[in-house]
């Protein structure tokens, strides 16, 4: 579970380190549309925060907290502060743009880790106190891992059900994928500028089959939680799926992909050592 803490908190640490908060603080506060719980913060708060100095301060605090929680120092406190800071920061980003889902899974995993003993092992807390691992039942560590795996599975499974519920069989229309992919490849506002989408119309007769495969993969993803033999096939499918959306649609979910190591049984490696 210590490795899961490093994976989840480390993902957000890298993400925050490479983001320019001071540039974000230059965006006009007047284009902000606070979303969800962000609506309850007053405008005077946003006016003070959305400045280069205000955002740089937020970045320093976030980096410090995420470094502590990733390394497992003062874990009981630092995992909670990291969760709250990331929750706020991601809400701020969504108040500028749309409710994109890439980091949401990671936020829920931060919530799980904030309230479970993820610093008992593979942490500076354990090393600092030169203590033996605290004797807790294996359930104390196994259940949070299961919970995070279920969250990952839920994202794909529910996504499949919603597509079928909202669109039915029309989701399998040959024009569905090409028209969406081309739309996301026309502007220069996406993070990448791949142009593979323009190849899709000539293969559109085959694309419904691809869509069926994607829907079946999403529907079956919960099997990865309960059947380790299926895990590598389903996770491999996830890697292919997310890379495909990157190259064909200029849409990428790196935070979600970065959480796949939660499915690895890290204890097995420890026993081997």
């Amino acid at each position: 579970m210590g490795v899961a803490r490093v994976v989840v908190h480390g993902t957000f640490l890298v993400s925050v380190l490479i983001a320019s908060f001071s540039a974000l603080g230059r965006l006009p506060v007047t284009i902000l549309r606070p979303t969800g719980v962000m609506k309850y913060l007053p405008w005077s708060f946003y006016d003070r925060l959305l400045t280069p100095a205000g955002m740089t301060t937020l970045k320093v605090v976030m980096v410090l907290s995420l470094m502590l929680s990733t390394a497992g120092l003062f874990t009981v406190v630092s995992t909670k502060t990291s969760f709250l800071l990331v929750l706020f920061y991601q809400g701020l980003l969504r108040s500028f743009g749309h409710f994109n889902h890439d980091e949401m899974l990671g936020i829920y995993c931060l919530a799980v880790l904030a309230f479970t003993p993820c610093g008992d092992q593979f942490s500076l807390d354990q090393w600092w106190k030169k203590r033996k691992p605290i004797a807790r039942p294996s359930f104390a560590y196994a259940y949070p891992i299961l919970l995070m795996q279920l969250l990952i599975a839920w994202t794909y499974f529910s996504s499949c059900l919603l597509k079928l519920r909202a669109s039915g069989l029309s989701y399998l229309s040959p024009d569905n994928l090409p028209s969406l992919a081309i739309y996301h490849s026309l502007d220069n506002l996406h993070d990448t500028a791949f142009r593979l989408a323009f190849w899709l119309p000539q293969f559109k007769a085959y694309l419904p089959v691809v869509m069926v495969v994607v829907l079946v993969w999403e529907f079956c993803f919960p099997l990865a939680v309960f059947f380790p033999r299926w895990r590598w096939l389903l996770l491999g499918g996830g890697v292919i799926f997310h890379l495909s959306t990157l190259f064909f649609m200029n849409i990428f979910f790196p935070h979600q992909l970065a959480l796949y190591p939660i499915f690895i049984n890290w204890d097995r490696f420890r026993k081997t050592d």
Binding site: P28, F139, L162, A166, L177, L186, D191
Partner: protein
Amino acid sequence: MNWLKIKYALLTVAIFLPLFWAFVYVRNAYPVATWNVMMAPGLLERGRSYWILRGETVSGQTIDIPPITLTNAMYSRTWTMVNATVANQSFKIPNLHPANAELLRQSGGLEQLPPGARVPDLLRAWGSLYNERLGASSPQRLKAIRLDMYRWEGGSYANYDKFIESWRQEL
């Protein structure tokens, strides 16, 4: 052990109950999410507008400027930020920013507000960020930055770039 089970049960309910609610009602209310990404099918018949950010340099060139190079923290959300800014979405929320409320009052209401009322502010911020990375005498500095709007009318896989209008900001 029993206390641990109760604690974990509460944690599970606290996380999954809102997720089930969001799934049933297909609502995203931050931080509660439903994974409705591309839930609706893409329709070829449906026209779509899109934008390209460009800069005019002091040497007379027109260059494309991907905004991700200016505000990388907005990662994957820039296109909807521009969509919303052009559509004056920040003037359509219940609790307006005082400056937006004042502009709305001066304009005489939402109907009188021109499209993209805050686009010049956004362009000014991006233009300043771009120029600050260059020396004062660089020919690559921008004298103006603009947001060009295009439309793909749909119906066929062709004619993707019908020019609609442009917002231009002198720097």
